[in-house]
């Protein structure tokens, strides 16, 4: 299956390699680097590249390429999914997934990779299992380690791999037993220039942070489960219970995990929390243009909209902008032609506005198309679909856990065409 893995940084250097079968020369990456050169944007590099003897499947994540070498037929998604798991694992262990972090912890990353695959076939990908084998670094432990010379490798061998509940480690103990659930919803929308919704849908995810001792068996129920149209679960969730009773019944992994993701079935009824009044025009003479943007709250269910960020991909010919923002600040990156306007909290009384002039490359024709806006926003304490957690029950353990649910709505791929 997966033969080798190379980590490649944005400038095309290979800074880590791992082979699970015989060694593949790193020259195989040249095909990939060539494709990367050709692509305008790293995102445009095709994920699957075929070379005379190997197939290269890569993902681009956190400004790094994870490039795997394959020799025989394998479902490409299998590899892609695994590579993302690797990136998530690094993120989980070290807080971020970047070249520096990986270089700093190269031995541990290498050991993790060793455990995750055997002969190219995934062996242990559950974070709970891995963490028992190789303990994640903490400040305290690294101090202790340097003093005593002990290591991060678990001296006990993991039981999770062997238990019938592979996602949970055994013998969990906490003094404070707590379970937190974050219901995070993202609005994906495309609005056309008149503000009409071309397409809108809500994608949600229930993130959990469960720190409970022993082997708790949890049941989470919703007030209005009928809202959920399509769901996918962490392997711990008992699908049958969901099918019959629409409750989530599960023995949770220890720590942070994604319990479920869902899709809300309400294509036309999606509340759009903000509106944008926009006008952009370029003078016929071709030397400049004007931009005027106003953002205001629309259907917010009485909550404040925070963290509003407007991103505009300007036409290539826009050289510089001279704008005036009534709220927040803006930046314009001339290299990528991206205008970012960081607004922050929306005040319904005083709507933020950004206006001013654009200067264009002289002699260039008037841009054909108006750019599109991407909007980022956040609304605390609200699940825009109206989904509500009803209750959380615990069985199997005696103590009373502390429970909490948080709702948050964000903009997903929220695009306004101008």
């Amino acid at each position: 299956m997966i033969h080798s893995l190379f980590l490649v940084n944005p400038s095309g250097d290979i800074f880590l390699e791992k082979h699970w079968k015989s060694v593949v020369s790193r020259s195989v990456c040249d095909y990939f680097l060539e494709a990367r050169e050709k692509a305008l944007d790293p995102e445009d590099v095709p994920p699957v590249i075929s070379t005379p003897h190997h197939y290269l499947i890569s993902i681009y994540r956190d400004k790094l390429f994870f490039l795997s070498v394959i020799q025989t037929e394998v479902p490409p998604l299998f590899v892609i999914e695994f590579l993302h798991r690797v990136a998530e694992m690094i993120q989980d262990y070290f807080g971020e997934c970047s070249e520096t972090v990986i270089k700093d912890n190269v031995v541990m990353v290498y050991e993790l990779l060793e455990e995750m695959l055997d002969n190219g076939f995934p062996l242990a990908t559950e974070s709970n299992v891995l963490k028992e084998m190789i303990r994640p670094p903490t400040i305290l432990r690294s101090v202790v380690n340097t003093l005593t010379g002990s290591s991060n490798v678990g001296d006990k061998l993991p039981t999770g791999q062997l238990s019938t509940i592979p996602w949970r480690r055994a013998g969990v103990k906490y003094t404070n037993n707590e379970a937190y659930f974050d219901v995070v919803e993202e609005i994906d929308a495309i609005l056309d220039r008149t503000g009409t919704t071309v397409f809108a849908e809500i994608q949600g995810v229930v993130e959990a942070c469960v720190k409970l001792s022993g082997m708790p068996d949890l049941t989470l129920s919703f007030m209005n489960p009928r809202l959920l149209d399509d769901v996918s679960f962490h392997p711990c969730v008992r699908y049958k219970r969901w099918e019959s009773e629409r409750v989530l019944s599960f023995i949770p992994p220890d720590g942070n995990f994604t319990l479920m993701t869902y899709h809300v079935n309400a294509q036309n009824l999606v509340a759009i929390p903000v509106y944008v009044k926009h006008s952009i025009n370029f003078f016929e003479s071709g030397s400049g243009g004007r931009l005027d943007l106003t953002v205001g709250p629309k259907q917010t269910m009485g909550k404040t909209v925070e963290g509003v960020l407007v991103t505009v991909h300007m036409p290539k010919t826009v050289l510089s902008v001279s704008l005036n923002a009534t709220q927040g600040s803006y930046t314009y990156d001339n290299a990528t032609k991206v205008l970012v306007w960081d607004i922050g909290k929306l005040n319904p009384q005083k709507l933020p506005n950004l206006r001013g002039s654009l200067s264009l490359q002289t002699g260039a024709p008037k841009p054909e198309e108006n750019p599109s806006l991407n909007i980022d926003l956040k609304i605390q304490q609200l699940a825009i679909s109206g989904l509500k957690v009803n209750r959380l029950d615990m069985f199997g353990e005696k103590y009373k856990p502390f429970k909490g649910v948080k709702y948050i709505t964000k903009a997903g791929k929220f695009q306004v065409r101008m």
């Binding site: 479902p75 995934p122 062997l162 049958k240 219970r241 991407n374 069985f395 791929k413």
Partner: protein, 1111 residues
């Protein structure tokens, strides 16, 4: 025997290899010191000459060596960490091999791990030195800790050193029968490694794979299937016996294993089942299908007209994979989607749509693959994705390849109804800054225009508007597409051609210019005024044009010469002259050819006569079709599909067979007792059951949904005849609200009923529990029915006939099967609800498994545990019969039956329909000269007799015969079951008289358990007799056979030679039956039978006496 021998040979071979390994190791060690220094020197000098900063490098490596040779663990560790760092960076650290390998036996786990990492990386390069470490691994392979055994095997098999192949082989074989499933999993991985190292070992490895395929642990399943796929994917026969097990385990296998198993099963299913797609399939369902009679029944009742019936195994696969669509792992979802695409009936494929669309929310790379697959699917099945059209709308932030895939799909989805929406969307895209994408959109518009004739004109007009676009690529693309469109229907579009002729002045993209010229040439008769003028202009600029434009100019000239030579003769001559001296030989050639063709002179042959027909022949319009049109020749979701060429190792998906191969190959006859030990993990062990049962349930639930309409005799029983309103009324009320309530109720009632059914002896009840599950294990799906049925029946008894002792009673109203079917049709909803209820009550155990006393666990819950190899709870397993008597008994003589002859035979298999029934096989033969119609079972006596009827046989041709199976609850008595066998015209009373031995089910247990059970069944439960056995029966084999022939009991392994033990249980109540035959001197033997069914015991004793004393 043979394998034993081979094994020992292998062992000897391995030992030999070890010896050589050790020998060379010793030598090396002796010479290590001196050798090394030389080698080292060599290396350092090498490094010196090789690279500039070699000095620092070598000194560092010297450091590392020093550190490794130090006694301090921490220094060694530090050194190893740095070495691994070097490896990770791809630097060469092989010269440190001797220093590193010494630490292989270190006590420090981290150090050891790092050394392993190093070894695996460099052993291939330093084979001789690597042998030093082998003995350490061999020792570790015998370690009591399973994880150490596993990791030793893992490293040993990863060291790619050919000399140790025999050692590896031996280690794999041993690990394959290890107690720990984790070690067995590792051995499955090792198989692949060994195979890649030495393909000659294939035959041996297949043996191991075969063995591991039988493994019931979910941990092993994925890995061994992976090994199977890599080593011997052609040995599809190895799968047969494991097919149902794999299907049932699937939900519990880890996600990566699921992907592999699903893709293997997809291939398997394509070779074993017939196509569910064809309309006219003719099937003989009755033959060989007795096993699944009840399933057949349902489908047949509903769809009398449709001749195709899906193989139950085929259905099982579809049903058990469906829940995996909800997996968080995109690869799993995709593999289920492709399975449905390749295997499911057309109308069921669309259930995967929603999940595939969900994947589009995932990472860019995932989107790419999924969109590719959707593109292929959407060509064949527009309807599947049309409702989700908007999900394929393009965002400006999408990567270019994602954009073009989405465009592709949108184009595929376009139809008369949605084309206006799509075109509006396309309008936005055309204006995109990404010009490549805009060009793609124009092509897409062109495709829409050709595919949907209603919008051709609109599209064409739109494209013409684009001709005035400022961007040249857009214009050029439009011209090219318009050219193609006009070619399809040139009649009314001379305006457009004129317009394009005007464009020629401005447009510079050569492809577009060439297209315009071609168009004018092709339709020059429609624009007679403009064409010569265009030619004039082109003549002027000819020399500065691109080659492709020049060629088209020559073409245009030639065509005009033929149609309008008066005006263009000179121009043509001029152009041909220019072309004659062009730099490009293509153009020179073309010019010469055209000149010869069109200008008549003495040299030109017959060809010029046909010049007009050659040049102005009507040309077929190009077909604009998707690039994904032929991709479906590859299995979806594969690498080959993505790259659109066959990847190495791609396994072709075969076509459906015209006739299904024998399906009985998948029947699993003998259930081996599971000898696995799951590690006890405190509460883990207890809580898992709940989970597993859940999973099992949902894997089974599909069946309920699928089949609910005709849902067998059993469930309709529940639904229709529950006069004691509880469940009935619930069924009427709102589904959601009542579900929890009713589940409680039914739980109550079922537990109640269990209470009443047992003979209030707790101990016995426990036993019964323990024995029940295995019996169901044989075949899952029908079980479910029988389970709920049992519950239902019992519940009914409990409520209606006040606490009658079920095991003795013969009450319980059983309606005629025909009316049941009718009822079930009338009240499908009730049936469904009832089903759910019976499932729910089991689910309700899940929340507090740790606190639930075991006695409440329902039998089926235990069954599911079995599947998960937690079987140490139960010590008794129903096994297959040791002996199946071939003798069949006459049920109906052909004379009395007016041509219908019937024979019956006890199959001694656990009954599928209900566990407490005895399975009887009936073969019906039509000896008359006319066809007999509607053969079914009519009235029966005694009135309470419970029979699971075979489904009505519609007709039986003369001389044809059919075998059906039915279940009869004899209630642990030898009283004959009387019933009527009816044809359309006649009714015949028949009776089935069981021998006492047929009322048992064979059970396997250990000697220890046997003694324990025997201890409980003393006194009046014991009967014994002393007999004189014939000489031939004194040895164990014939004795065992005799006893097994007499009664369906299983042999219990015995420690003593002269004592033979057999165990069984009664079919109905599940009471234990223990038979002991003790041989004494001078052919005397004591037969002892222990059972609480003393009547049966004594009857059996009588039969046994007779049988053993027989000569």
């Amino acid at each position: 025997m043979n394998s034993q021998k081979r094994f020992s040979a292998l062992r000897a071979e391995a030992a030999g290899a070890v010896r050589t390994a050790l020998g060379s190791a010793e030598n090396l060690q002796l010479t290590l010191k001196t050798d090394l220094s030389q080698e080292e020197q060599h290396l350092t000098t090498h490094a010196h000459t090789d690279r500039g900063p070699g000095e620092t490098r070598t000194t560092r490596n010297d450091d590392l060596k020093e550190m490794l040779e130090n006694n301090k663990e921490s220094l060694k560790l530090e050194a190893m960490k740095r070495i691994v760092g070097l490896i990770a960076k791809g630097k060469n650290a092989s010269e440190l091999f001797p220093a590193v390998v010494k630490n292989v036996a270190s006590k420090n786990i981290e150090l050891k791990k790092l050394v392993y990492v190093y070894l695996v990386r460099y052993a291939e390069e330093q084979q001789d030195l690597a042998l030093l470490s082998i003995s350490t691994f061999q020792r570790a392979l015998k370690d009591p800790n399973q994880l150490i055994r596993a990791s030793a095997l893992r490293v040993l098999s990863s060291i790619r050193v050919p000399i140790i192949i025999p050692i590896m082989m031996l280690a794999i074989k041993e690990a394959a029968s290890d107690m720990s499933p984790y070690v067995r999993k590792t051995s499955a991985h090792a198989i692949q490694k060994l195979y890649s190292l030495d393909p000659d070992q294939k035959e041996h490895l297949i043996e191991v794979i075969e063995k591991l395929l039988k493994d019931k642990s979910t941990l092993v399943a994925g890995s061994v299937v992976m090994a199977f796929e890599e080593v011997c994917p052609e040995r599809i026969d190895l799968i047969h016996k494991n097919y149902r097990k794999l299907c049932n385990l699937l939900v519990d296998v880890e996600e990566w294993g699921q992907v592999v198993i699903i893709s293997m099963l997809t291939r398997y299913a394509r070779t074993q089942f017939t196509s569910p797609w064809r309309e006219d399939g003719v099937f003989d369902e009755n033959s060989e299908r007795a096993f699944y009679e009840s399933d057949e029944e349902k489908t047949r009742d509903d769809t009398e007209i449709k001749p195709y019936t899906m193989d139950p195994d085929h259905r099982l696969l579809l049903r058990n994979t469906k829940p995996l669509l909800q997996s968080r792992n995109t690869a799993v979802v995709m593999s289920v989607a492709q399975l449905y695409w390749h295997l499911a009936p057309r109308n069921e494929v669309s259930i995967v749509t929603k999940s595939l669309v969900r994947l589009l929310r995932s990472h860019r790379e995932v989107q790419y693959i999924v969109l590719q697959n959707i593109a292929t699917m959407s060509i064949q099945r527009k309807g599947m994705f049309e409702p989700y059209m908007k999900s394929f709308y393009v965002r400006s932030t999408d990567a270019t390849h994602i954009k073009s895939l989405k465009l592709e799909i949108l184009t595929n989805l376009a139809n008369e109804a949605n084309i206006s929406t799509i075109l509006r969307e396309f309008q936005t895209y055309v204006k995109s800054q990404d010009k490549q994408f805009a060009a793609g959109t124009i092509q897409a518009i062109g495709r829409c225009a050709t595919n949907i004739s209603e919008v051709t004109d609109t599209c064409l007009n739109g494209l013409v508007l684009l001709l005035s676009n400022r961007d040249e690529t857009v214009v050029a693309e439009s011209v090219v597409v318009i050219k193609k469109l006009l070619q399809a229907q040139p009649s009314q579009h001379s305006d457009i051609i004129k317009h394009m002729a005007k464009l020629l002045d401005n447009i510079t993209v050569s492809m577009a210019r060439a297209s315009i010229l071609w168009l004018i040439g092709e339709y020059c008769e429609r624009v007679p005024k403009i064409a010569p003028d265009v030619l004039r202009k082109m003549a002027k600029s000819f020399t500065s044009e691109e080659d492709i434009v020049k060629l088209q100019t020559v073409n245009l000239a030639a065509k005009l010469y033929l149609t309008n030579s008066k005006q263009t003769k000179l121009l043509t001559q001029y152009i041909l002259n220019l072309g004659k001296y062009d730099q490009n030989y293509d153009i020179r050639d073309r010019t010469r050819f055209i000149r010869q063709l069109i200008v008549p002179n003495e040299k030109s042959g017959a060809l010029s006569k046909y010049a007009r027909r050659i040049l102005l022949a009507p040309k077929p319009a190009p077909v604009l079709e998707s690039a994904y049109k032929d991709r479906d020749r590859y299995q979806l979701g594969t690498l080959s599909h993505t790259i659109n060429t066959k990847a190495s190792g791609y396994l072709e998906l075969s076509d459906w067979p015209a006739v299904a191969p024998d399906q009985s190959v998948r029947n699993v006859e003998v259930i081996e007792p599971v000898k696995e030990w799951a590690p006890s993990l405190g509460k883990t062990g207890k809580s898992k059951p709940a989970k597993s049962s859940d999973d099992k349930f949902y894997s089974d639930s599909g069946e309920e949904e699928e089949d609910e309409k005709g849902s067998g005799t059993s469930s309709s029983n529940d639904g229709s005849s529950s006069s004691s309103a509880e469940s009935g009324s619930d069924a009427e009320s709102d589904e959601d609200k009542s579900s929890s309530q009713s589940s409680e109720e039914s739980e109550k009632s079922s537990s109640q009923s269990e209470k009443s059914s047992s003979e209030s002896d707790i101990e016995q009840k426990k036993k019964k529990k323990m024995k029940k599950p295995p019996q169901k294990k044989n075949v899952k799906p029908p079980n479910k029915d029988s389970d709920s049925d049992e519950n239902g029946n019992l519940a009914r008894k409990a409520s209606s006939s006040s606490a009658e002792d079920s095991s003795d009673s013969e009450s319980g109203s059983v309606t005629d099967s025909d009316t049941e079917h009718q009822k079930s049709k009338v009240k499908p909803k009730e049936v469904k609800l009832q089903k759910e209820v019976s499932l729910l009550d089991l689910d309700d155990f899940t929340p507090g498994p740790a606190t639930q006393p075991r006695s409440v666990l329902s039998p089926s819950l235990l069954t599911d545990l079995e599947g998960l190899s937690l079987s140490n709870i139960s010590t008794m397993q129903v096994s297959g019969p040791a002996f199946v008597p071939e003798k069949s008994h006459n049920l109906l003589h052909r004379m009395t039956g007016k041509g219908l002859a019937a024979q019956y035979q006890f199959t001694r298999q656990p009954c599928l329909y209900q566990p407490n029934m005895v399975s009887v096989q009936i073969s019906l033969t039509n000896t008359s000269d006319h066809r007999l119609e509607q053969i079914h079972i009519g009235e029966r006596s005694p009135a309470g007799l419970k029979i699971h009827c075979f489904n009505t046989i519609e007709f039986l041709e003369p001389d044809a015969s059919v075998t059906v199976s039915m279940g009869i609850d004899f209630n642990d008595s030898t009283q004959a079951a009387n019933f009527q066998l009816c044809t359309k015209e006649d009714q015949f009373s028949v009776s089935i008289q069981p021998a006492v031995g047929d009322l048992f089910l064979a059970v396997t247990m250990t000697e220890q358990d046997f003694r324990k059970e025997q201890g409980k069944l003393q006194g009046m439960n014991e009967c014994s007799a002393t007999i004189t056995v014939t000489a031939e029966n004194t040895s164990s084999q014939p004795l065992n056979r005799r006893v097994a022939a007499m009664a369906n009991v299983g042999v219990v392994p015995s420690g003593q030679d002269n004592v033979h033990r057999f165990a069984g249980k009664t079919a109905c109540s599940g009471a234990v039956l223990l038979v002991t035959v003790e041989l004494r001197e001078s052919s005397a033997a004591v037969i002892t039978i222990n059972t609480e069914k003393s009547v049966m015991g004594s009857m059996l004793l009588r039969d046994l006496k007779k049988s053993l004393a027989q000569a």
